[in-house]
């Protein structure tokens, strides 16, 4: 399936900019920020506006084609992977890792019994990734 068709499957009208941004999201599993996407795509689309990147990602999130991550307190990150999963952010290098989201249904079921309607779940771990953990040990 092309990115063009992929956008259509989420009821999003494709455009050059939208295709480029979704393509970037699908090919770069780095949970990029607005700036990362903007800087990367400016080379191919020199007229690209940062506002368009903001608008487009908002649109993607509204249509369920991308997920907004609030794991980083300084700026929003985006994930093109829509299947449920969690994240681990290294406090030292900042990298965000995907992790399986395989926790107990018990809690969410209990919430739903009480009348809470869960629309999304975010699981964020923070700490030291293997590389940084090793480096820190060596420094000490």
């Amino acid at each position: 399936m092309t990115v063009y068709e992929y956008l259509l499957s989420y009821q999003i009208k494709p455009s050059v900019q939208r295709i480029a941004i979704m393509d970037y999201l699908l090919k770069h599993k780095t949970h990029p920020s607005i700036d990362e996407i903007y800087i990367a795509l400016c080379k191919d689309i020199p007229t690209l506006s940062k506002t368009t990147v903001y608008n487009t990602l908002k649109l993607f999130v509204e249509h369920g084609a991308a997920k907004l991550l609030t794991i980083n307190e300084h700026n929003a990150c985006f994930d093109g992977e829509t299947a449920p999963h969690g994240h681990f952010q290294c406090k030292y290098c900042g990298k965000i890792y995907d992790i399986p989201l395989a926790f107990d249904r018990e809690v969410s079921e209990k919430l739903e019994t009480k009348g809470f309607q869960i629309e999304e779940t975010n699981l964020y771990y923070k700490g030291a990734c293997p590389q940084c953990a090793e480096n820190n040990v060596k420094e000490q």
Copy 2:
């Protein structure tokens, strides 16, 4: 234990401002923002500066006496409850509820086996709280 002693137990040197802010956090389990705290305490401490509220909460978080919540994309919220637990934020009224954090150890253990050092865990549910869920149904 007084708030004064409580701060000391976290290696935080007490001051009028720090005591007032921690007292507010401990008495108001509403996961307040900087502004909420600032506005509430200005009545008692008219000279209070918003910068002090920022500095103080940063200090609390560094010392483990408060937890920073990034559940709200527009501004930071703070939680004086340090025991591990998750949160549910209603997308309609904005209220944040505490929920038990009783999910599988399996995932975190697997991460630790791979060399990840987990320092904190954040579980954020979002959706409709019981009240808002009911109101929405009635409107439709």
